[in-house]
């Protein structure tokens, strides 16, 4: 049995849940799959999940699960695991699972393999591919001391539309005991910072600058290239962390998601948290001095070289005509 724990917020499934179901179907190789959905009241989500070709959908409702806290979710998940006795537990690698999956693993003393991009083999023999060293290497990992092994699946690594549908899964309610006094985090409502002045989602072209730019003074070079291309300027996270460009120009999982006609990545390595924010762009150009940089994985055009030579040459070329 493989257990998938779905992610929902306010009665809506996170799309990444379907990706985790697709990963589970691949890993199962025909073995049964249960999908669990947790929440205070999960409405029609159980039925929605039952559309997948899985053995069962488990609906675990408890008032203590709303709002989300790691303590309540780890308690609920460990109870589920005890009753289902899965060989693997699969979850999408989201901010929520980053928060409670390690707690769950620590509590039940079972291995947790995070950010998995590929599954090799099925069942007990499977190994899992995950990035290491900032995506410069891919590791093949075998969990020890399961079952179950807990696996979190990288966003975008498995295709939601590859989920095999057409199951006649039974939707079952499961009872959970969660002691509300054991929940130590008291969350307030989520909010967004002050309204963003720039909406990069509307930009036709974006020149995005990363740590390869080296210093704040050099941002001017990237801005000049942006002007020559008729593009907006944007950045990877470290540039905004340093205060070299405002936060609202950050692209990636914790910033904006964009899909312009043209995205030029200047000195950006291509960490997954950056890629998820821009890989939908129509044409991607990467300029990086490291031929092995992961950004080339998503680029349509690549130039391996020093941006301090390439960018001025591009500006000259663009200003010619």
């Amino acid at each position: 049995m493989i257990l998938v724990i779905a992610e929902q917020r306010e009665g809506k499934l996170n799309r990444a849940t379907w990706e985790a179901v697709a990963a589970a179907q691949q890993l199962a190789g025909g073995a049964p799959i249960s999908v669990a959905v947790l929440g205070a009241s999960t409405g029609g989500l159980g039925q929605e999940l039952a559309a997948a070709s899985v053995a069962a959908v488990l609906v675990a409702e408890n008032a203590a699960l709303e709002p989300y806290t790691p303590d309540a979710y780890a308690a609920a998940a460990s109870t589920l695991i005890e009753s289902v006795k899965p060989a693997y537990v699969l979850l999408p690698h989201t901010y929520q699972t980053r928060d409670f999956a390690p707690l769950l693993a620590a509590r039940i003393r079972k291995p947790l393999v995070t950010d998995v991009t590929g599954i090799n083999g099925t069942g007990a023999d499977a190994t899992f591919t995950r990035p290491m060293f900032q995506g410069k290497l891919a590791a093949q990992v075998k969990p020890q001391a399961g079952p179950p092994a807990i696996i979190t699946v990288q966003i975008g690594a498995f295709r939601a539309d590859a989920v095999q549908k057409g199951g006649a899964a039974a939707v079952k309610k499961v009872d959970l005991q969660i002691d509300p006094s054991a929940i130590r985090q008291k969350p307030e409502a989520p909010f967004r910072e002050a309204k963003q002045a720039v909406d990069l989602g509307q930009a036709e072209r974006i020149v995005s600058v990363g740590r390869g730019i080296k210093s704040q003074e050099n941002i001017a070079l990237a801005e000049k290239l942006a002007t020559a291309m008729g593009a907006e300027i944007a950045a990877s996270r470290p540039i905004c962390d340093n205060g070299w460009l405002p936060m609202e120009r950050q692209i990636g999982s914790s910033g904006q998601t964009v899909a312009p006609k043209l995205y030029v990545a200047l000195g950006i390595s291509g960490a997954i948290q950056h890629l998820v924010g821009m890989k939908g762009s129509r044409t991607i150009v990467a300029i990086n001095k490291d031929a092995e940089a992961p950004i080339f994985e998503v680029a349509d055009y690549g130039i391996v070289g020093d941006l301090f030579e390439i960018a001025p040459a591009l500006i000259t070329e663009l200003e010619k005509s």
Binding site: A105, A106, V113, Q134, E188, G255, R282, E297, G302
Partner: protein
């Protein structure tokens, strides 16, 4: 406030990976190392909290003798003392082993607050902090962008996806995993570097019998799925060719 900061020493960002002969781990001989980036932000946050609320900042690191360099750097930036769990095997150990090793060395200290980075730049498990919290028997919250101490409890600001945030209240003691960008980093001064030489680094040994929770059976440069058209030549030639293709082929300019 007695604050612990867990700091990992990781290969520098410029490092080009080289594999060992079995292709199961990296060749450690030719690596230069630095402080894991989110850990530097965690350290800075600890120093700021000490400035505001008094107390001490203790650096905790698990690793071979080489990690002394990063411990000294943290002491030079202003931490008061350090605990070093030293063992050669800790350089490549997984999150469970590291967390157990740190917990054993830290539990008698009864820290009010433990800060870690949210993720390491080398193995990138994103788990060590939370497992450590559980082993220390204290609550945790992750991906933190602000910390406000209010007596025996605190309010922390958690980053969510896509520009969303959330405040939450938690009792102390607790553990937080810190996100890069929470503050602006300070660097060591000459005075700090001199002072660091006299600060205490307590050695702790690795508890016996810790079992890894996962094993790396293979390591490789990722395979590429997309056909990237690489444009070569001098900077001027490459620029000319790229602009041509962006205009004629991609119609993106």
């Amino acid at each position: 406030m007695k604050i612990a900061v867990c700091i990992k020493q990781v290969p520098t960002r410029e490092w080009q990976p080289r594999l060992n002969d079995q292709k199961t781990w990296i060749r450690e001989a030719d690596i230069s190392y630095e402080m894991n980036e989110p850990d530097a932000y965690a350290l800075e946050e600890a120093l700021r909290l000490r400035e505001r609320h008094g107390g001490e900042v203790v650096v905790c690191s698990a690793g071979p003798a080489r990690v002394q360099t990063v411990i000294r750097e943290a002491l030079a930036r202003g931490a008061d003392r350090a605990i070093h769990v030293e063992h050669d095997s800790l350089g490549a150990a997984d999150a469970f082993v590291i967390a157990e090793a740190l917990a054993a060395a830290m539990k008698d200290e009864a820290f009010d607050l433990v800060l870690t980075g949210l993720q390491s730049d080398d193995q990138g498990h994103g788990q060590t902090g939370v497992i450590l919290a559980e082993r220390l028997g204290i609550p945790s919250s992750t991906i933190i962008m602000d910390v406000r101490i209010e007596g025996s409890s605190m309010r922390v600001k958690r980053e969510l996806e896509g520009g969303w945030f959330q405040w939450l209240a938690m009792p102390l003691p607790a553990l937080l995993t810190i996100q890069s960008g929470i503050n602006q980093l300070r660097y060591a001064t000459l005075k700090g570097i001199m002072a660091a030489k006299k600060k205490e680094i307590k050695k702790a040994s690795l508890p016996d019998g810790l079992q890894p929770s996962q094993q790396v059976v293979g390591l490789a440069v990722p395979t590429r799925s997309k056909q990237t058209q690489m444009i070569t030549g001098s900077p001027a030639d490459a620029a000319k060719e790229l602009v041509r293709r962006l205009r004629d082929e991609a119609r993106a300019l």
